[in-house]
């Protein structure tokens, strides 16, 4: 059967949207949020093959699933996040929990477990995190000891505990990371196995519709056939292999949550009359609280989609790109949700409206699947290697591509991208020469600047090639205006923030020379017409989201 085409994806999203409209009212969400309760019946319905069967997306076709590609999975994640991030997390946990099996399972294991998950609509949980082992899995404490019979390893006894496991209290099947004699390994543990208990549901700041619980293992026996891949010591590799992919899904969560918050605020602002006109007509309001966020969402959408398409070709990997997508989209979504409350004033602060809940929810996307700080480090490490390997040419080469794009299409800010990439190359090189990366703070900030510039580059490139990212509601000319605004601001951020880091850690450097080296004046010069462009985007936003 062919891969799902765009129309099929849109159909799935329509079905999901319609289901949510009919079954998941804001009142239902609000009640469960107040009671800190997972709407298990809703989750079960979403798994029902005749209603939605959303979990079938991640199961390969040969095992009764529909073998969803990265693109439809991230788009479904975005839509789920727009409905409720807690529910989204519940669905995502099954996706995530099945991943070790997908990456490392033997054909027999896949057949057995995927068929079970597909046909019996099983909820899955991903058990990796421990009190002392978050993104840093090296400190893993949970152990799996051999059970030997007739000189053969017939099974394992697992002992230890896991923390903050999504679906922890409600899953049927758990994939659990434990330290076997041969190294870290994934095991499949079923609910009800003797010695395996689940802790009480956590009382969380947000995503309160998602069940989160600790897991305790006290000499839990699992047969040897439950060792994923039937080979010990593959656990870290299997976990790392999917980071690019899983982080892309969380990036889509940040995007979806942010969009929902800003659109709610915008709908309010279209109706709220202030001093003779709707709030959405006020330039100060729009340019401070609404427009910049939506520009970042479109940039994030372009980047996520581009990464998804790369992943579909390369299957796994792209850890740096996944990290960039997640860092950029979740931080943007989080800040946007914060401003959505501000935009709605007192209304935004009450539980009558959804934005305060979204704000609480979306914060988790900056934490789980790698905190923003871990991601900054990952991004820095990944690109620092490229910088060193290419002797400083990595971003300079890319800048040339954007010089060419600018001559083809001067409307998309490719000139600013080229300036920004060259500034970034220069900042990295100065950090190398002056050994500034000994400051951990500098590495974090560099990770952030890299992500800022790479997202801007992809957004501008997509627009230059006249590609409208699927799911975007804007026309090409509006997207070009957005890309132009975004490229200018990202280049400025890279140049000015780069200077702050270098001068802040290395006082001996000449300010004027550095300013010239990152071409700050030329970048500032590109700001001409910026506010006018943003006003154009504001007008488009008002038009599209007017009810």
């Amino acid at each position: 059967m062919a891969k799902n085409d765009l129309m099929t994806r849109n159909l799935m999203l329509d079905s999901l949207r319609q289901y949510a409209k009919n079954r998941i009212s804001f009142n239902l969400i609000r009640e469960h949020d107040a009671k800190n309760q997972i709407p298990l019946d809703i989750l079960k319905e979403m798994y029902d093959h005749d209603i939605l069967g959303v979990h079938l997306l991640l199961i390969p076709e040969e095992y009764g699933g529909l073998g969803g590609q990265t693109t439809e999975i991230y788009r479904v994640c975005e839509q789920l996040a727009r409905i409720d991030l807690g529910i989204a997390t519940g669905v995502f946990a099954t996706f995530l929990g099945s991943d070790p099996l997908n990456v490392g399972g033997t054909p027999e294991q896949k057949a057995k477990w995927f068929k079970k998950i597909a046909q019996e609509n099983k909820l899955v949980a991903y058990g990796a995190t421990e009190a002392d082992a978050g993104s840093d899995l090296v400190s893993l404490r949970t152990r799996a000891e051999h059970v030997v019979k007739d000189g053969k390893v017939v099974g394992y006894k697992i002992t230890g505990s896991k923390m903050w496991i999504s679906n922890g209290g409600v899953a049927d099947i758990y994939t659990v990371l434990a330290l076997a004699p041969g190294g870290p390994s994934w095991f499949i543990v079923e609910k009800g196995t003797p010695g395996f208990t689940q802790d009480a549901h956590e009382d969380k700041h947000g995503i309160r519709l998602s069940n989160t619980a600790g897991l305790a293992f006290d000499d839990v026996y699992v047969p040897a056939e439950n060792l994923i891949g039937l080979k010990e010591g593959q656990g870290f590799l299997q976990a790392q292999a999917v980071f690019g992919y899983t982080r892309l899904m969380v990036a889509a969560f940040g995007l979806g949550g942010g969009e929902e918050a800003v659109e709610t605020a915008l709908e309010y602002a279209n109706q709220r009359i202030q001093a003779g006109g709707p709030l959405s007509q006020k330039q100060g309001f729009m340019l401070k609280l609404i427009t910049p966020h939506y520009i970042r969402f479109e940039a994030a959408r372009a980047y996520i989609d581009w990464t998804a398409k790369q992943l579909e070709v390369n299957n796994h990997g792209l850890a740096t790109e996944g990290a960039i997508a997640k860092l950029y989209a979740t931080e943007s979504g989080n800040k946007a949700a914060e401003d959505a409350i501000q935009a709605m004033g007192g209304f935004g602060y009450t539980k009558e409206f959804s934005v305060e809940k979204i704000k609480r929810d979306v914060k988790i996307t900056c934490i789980y699947e790698g905190t923003s700080e871990v991601l900054e480090m990952t991004i820095f490490r990944g690109r620092w290697q490229e910088h060193l390997k290419s002797r400083g040419q990595y971003y300079l080469k890319q800048a040339e591509e954007f010089d060419a794009l600018h001559t083809q299409n001067p409307e998309v800010g490719a000139d600013s991208v080229a300036l920004g990439l060259r500034a970034l190359a220069r900042v990295l090189e100065d950090c190398r020469v002056n050994k500034l990366t000994r400051h951990q703070y500098v590495t974090f900030q560099l990770g952030d600047l890299i992500s800022e510039m790479e997202v801007a580059a992809v957004f501008t490139r997509e627009c230059a090639n006249k590609r409208i990212t699927e799911g975007s509601r804007f026309d090409l000319s509006s997207l070009c205006t957005m890309a132009r605004v975004n490229a200018r601001q990202s280049a400025f951020k890279v140049a000015s923030e780069g200077m702050r880091l270098i001068l802040g850690t290395c006082p001996a450097i000449n300010t004027a020379e550095l300013s010239q080296a990152v071409n700050l004046v030329a970048i500032e010069d590109k700001m001409r017409g910026l506010i006018e462009d943003m006003d154009v985007v504001s007008a488009k936003l008002r038009e599209i989201f007017k009810k």
Binding site: N10, D48, L57, L66, K546, K547
Partner: protein
């Protein structure tokens, strides 16, 4: 039994907006949906299919992107989709549209029951269904709430002024469907959406259906739009504001002044 359901892609009308300055439609960002009356008609056809094993063909006329509603219909269980798409159809009013659809039905050949929504929510004319029936020279039953078919007979519940009738008719017949107030359109599961990719959608041009080009598009449309204009403004009446109590008093005052109450 062979059932043909005629469907249309329409803008989600609750979201159609008009530019207050120019009075023109804002189309950007307005999502398209399957006309809800057609959606209901399709579900009724699929119910008959479930009972009798009938073959359900969906037929639509529109631009290429209208294929999306055919895909939706296939995902819901229709067997085959046909899209009439050709520049020659552009500008068709209900006369030319029903002629084109009827001509396509002739090309499909075998049919016992044709189901249509009573009207499209972007036009509200309710003319296309009866038009198709006349072009095919078969009986029509319009504004039906339910439809059932077996053997060579259909049985419908048809709305009339102030009531309804139960009507039986010999097939072939065309039935147009109204929908219940609380109707919630059914959408396909993910798997059904996935599998619909493998079902066939044929695109037919005016030449494919051997239509008389003089009866298509603008040339085949008797009606012309003379002008489009924003609704005329009128003088504003008396306006009052104040607290709820003050306004309630005002209202009662108005009732007395207009001799609604004493």
């Amino acid at each position: 039994m062979n059932i043909i359901v005629c469907i249309k892609q329409v803008p989600d009308s609750t979201q159609v907006k008009v530019d207050p300055k120019t009075g023109t439609l804002i189309r950007a960002g307005v999502p398209s949906i399957l006309n809800p009356y057609d959606h209901y008609a399709l579900e009724k056809a699929l119910a008959i299919k479930a009972k009798t094993g009938a073959k359900v063909t969906v037929l639509s006329m529109g631009p290429n992107q209208a294929v999306a509603v055919l895909r939706l219909a296939l995902a819901l269980g229709a067997d085959e989709g046909i899209l009439l798409s050709d520049r020659a159809f552009a500008g068709s009013d209900t006369w030319a549209t029903s002629y084109a659809l009827a001509t396509a039905v002739r090309k499909i050949g075998k049919y016992d029951l044709i189901l249509c929504g009573q009207m499209a929510i972007d036009g509200d004319t309710a003319q296309t269904g009866p038009g198709i029936a006349r072009h095919l020279n078969i009986p029509q039953l319009t504004f039906c709430e339910t439809v059932d078919a077996d053997g060579n007979q259909v049985l419908v519940k048809k709305l009339i002024e102030g009531g309804h009738q139960i009507i039986q008719a010999e097939m072939p017949v065309l039935v147009t469907m109204t929908m219940p107030a609380d109707y919630m359109p059914k959408y396909p599961s993910f798997m059904a959406a996935h599998k619909a990719q493998d079902k066939q959608v044929f695109t037919w041009t005016a030449a494919d259906i051997q239509a008389d080009v003089h009866k298509l598009g603008l040339e085949g449309s008797p009606t012309r739009v003379d002008r489009i204009f924003p609704p005329p403004a009128r003088p504003k009446g008396e306006m009052y504001s104040g607290s709820a109590v003050e306004l309630a008093n005002k209202f009662v005052e108005i009732l007395k002044k207009e001799s609604i109450v004493k």
